[in-house]
Symmetry: C2
Subunit: 437 residues, 2 copies
């Protein structure tokens, strides 16, 4: 049994900054018994993961610090189905690549990975038991409910495919087969989560809790084309590439509604900054292993920032730095045009470059990862094929992969930065993006 | 290579009396190469099979005589899904029971079973490959097409279940996984068959031919309730039970539109009579083994019937017998009130009793079968349970199991006698029908 205080502290760490929690009592009950909750977060290894993933990963860092056993589902079966034209080999390489990247990110954040497990969908999603359960579910679930479940994440087209109706059920079964207490995802998954809560008990399985992250608009903001290879920042982008991309980002003076950079600061940079400050204060949670990595983890503030600051804006053309204790203060200053877009860009750019530096270093030090990277995302310029005319068959994205996920407050590009399972459809993946090595 | 004449003869035997053939050239091509076509017919082992199955089985007899390798799919997975409340064990026993009955029927018809194989759905429908193909199909097939495919056989209800959309695809995959050249079923399966023809090639598999039997209204005709245990004749019914049931059958003088007995004569008795006559003339087709069984196979005509007669109506109350060369002659006489309903009933009753006699004898001689029968269809009166209130959850029937299959020419009960995969939903199965042993 854990003390009420301990329970409360861990529960707050697990649920802070979330958009919504369903079934929080399930988690509290497990914590009260002194057990470690088990959680899963799924991602389909399709295109190169970009830094929008940080929004989910920083939240997962909280879970790990609270002692949660986190399973990352690398949904390779879904990735394969997402693009049947891609050979199965490619998916295998991409699955490996995703694991390399995600592990490197957690390490770079100083979060130990001893309670983090990677599971492949193909490990169990093609088994007899799982498939019989899928068929069972299909004899219990109505078309109406399945359609509603997928309505946020499956692109609504004129001729919807069956997969859009099946995937929500598979995602429900994953909770059972991964043996978790809660599933984590973007709030765009809400209807899939409530579908799981409705139907798993009808199959005789326990209802799980669901923790939902806020959706974040794309970092690059504005009306940038998603087919533009510069529209997303890759985890392996070197500083000069990050600079070029950030330079292109839409960032209008005083405009906080359409500002992917501010959204990124709110969802990623400030949480990481806070994480680092907490750890410096000795608050490493369950992460005994991670204590060693506290030192190099610099919050995004200057050394002269007052206690409690979580973000600093330095200025290139005169004017001293501004220190912020909360995101809101930062946003208010930008709205009041007290921060020039150029200065916002420069500070966010430098924060991103510093975040990516250890990941890139780990990549350059790891030959196996480099080899996998080449196999997973071969240079499209290496062999110039005659571009075949595309068949106009619409492949719906796997659950969570949708483009209409973000009910954006303003006409941003609609690409969710918190792409829990999100990626663009293959055609618009910046797969061919050059990664100077 | 086979001669053109041989090809034509076999092809005619394979396709005669069918309602429709799709892809006949596929079969002709195989025959022309001197190969044996492979076919499959599926049935879900749910309720006790009744004599409506004869309509399919007499057609399968033609296939076997033409050298076709016939696989009977005992769709146990579908049977299990059809009634999740029934334990899996029960389905296993029922699967065995179906195999016993079906084998006994072919033997009783003098049709050798060396080219007949029984396959269980669970042998391959839960495998990795099959399920991956199912998922693939779901990313290719539209909801619209899947819905249309099931529209004839899946009961159209307000809240349709997902299974109704999935089953047509599984039935398509069965063709590939059973390695057949054509699938046989009732014409109510037409839309499922064309769905298979559309989508198998999209998965990279060959398009198969589809042979469809005419739908036959229920033997008992009229407005008999399907919950009436006397509404169907079981293959194991002893003569006195057959008599009682036939006595109850709806049969109105001169009314040929609503007459399940005439329909049964047309779809089952006359074809069997013709089969027996052909065999007596030495025309046993490929059935070398079956030659021994020709003698006891008496056509449904009296000994004094003129050459070419296929059915005789004898009269109880005076008047000599009438012999018919075709079904149409029989129907015309009934329409013209030249046959009294009582005489039609008596002759059809006797024909049925003679058909069932060897099946019942085989059952009584086979202890294993008797044991399986008790396990598969336990006497509901043996342990009187308090009847639980039924949940109002609609379970759609597996493909081919529908109640609205027959576009009946008149308001008959709508139960297809040619229930290729047809059975009533569990609630109305005459499972509890007493079978005096």
């Amino acid at each position: 049994m854990a003390s009420e205080e301990e329970v409360e502290k861990k529960y707050n760490l697990i649920t802070r900054r979330l958009d919504e929690v369903l079934g929080g009592d399930i988690i509290k009950g497990i914590l009260a018994e002194g057990r470690s909750p088990k959680a899963y977060w799924g991602t389909a290894p399709t295109g190169r993961p970009h830094i929008g993933y940080y929004a989910s990963l920083t939240k997962i860092a909280d879970f790990l610090r609270a002692g949660v056993e986190v399973k990352v589902l690398l949904a390779d079966v879904h990735a394969f189905l997402d693009n049947l034209k891609a050979p199965l080999d490619l998916v295998t390489h991409r699955t490996k690549y995703y694991e390399f990247v995600l592990r490197a990110i957690f390490t770079s954040l100083g979060i130990p990975t001893s309670k983090l497990t990677f599971v492949r969908g193909s490990d169990y999603q093609l088994s007899r038991e799982y498939n019989l359960d899928n068929y069972k579910l299909c004899t219990l679930a109505t078309e109406h409910d399945a359609k509603k479940a997928g309505s946020e994440v499956v692109k609504q087209v004129e001729s919807p495919l069956l997969s859009g109706l099946i995937y929500p059920g598979l995602q429900a079964l994953d909770e059972q087969y991964l043996g978790v207490d809660f599933q984590f995802g973007g709030v765009d998954q809400r209807k899939i989560f409530t579908y799981a809560e409705l139907y798993l008990p009808r199959l005789g399985y326990a209802k799980r809790a669901h923790l939902m992250n806020t959706m974040v608009p794309g970092l690059m903001g504005g009306k940038m084309s998603s087919s533009d290879p510069d529209s997303k920042i890759d985890f392996l982008d070197p500083p000069e590439v990050v600079k070029r991309k950030i330079k292109k980002a839409f960032c209008e003076e005083g405009n906080v509604a359409e500002n992917g950079l501010l959204a990124f600061a709110k969802a990623v940079l400030i949480p990481i900054s806070e994480l680092r400050l907490e750890r410096r204060q000795g608050d490493t949670g369950e992460d005994e292993e991670g204590k060693e990595s506290v030192k190099p983890q610099k919050p995004f503030v200057t050394d002269d920032a007052p206690e409690g600051s979580v973000f600093t804006i330095t200025r290139e053309k005169g004017g001293g730095p501004s220190h912020y204790r909360t995101y809101q203060e930062l946003e208010d200053d930008f709205a009041a045009k007290k921060i020039h877009p150029g200065d916002l860009k420069a500070n966010i750019r430098d924060a991103i470059i510093s975040l990516l530096e250890p990941i890139r270093a780990a990549f350059l030090a790891n030959e196996e990862w480099q080899h996998v990277e080449q196999l997973a995302y071969p240079d499209p310029n290496a062999k110039k094929e005659v571009k075949k005319k595309k068949e106009k068959v619409y492949h719906p994205p796997p659950p969570g992969k949708g483009k209409n996920a973000k009910p954006a407050p303003a006409p941003v590009d609609g690409v969710a930065a918190d792409e829990t399972r999100a990626s663009d459809p293959p055609a618009s993946q910046p797969d061919g993006e050059a990664v100077p090595a």
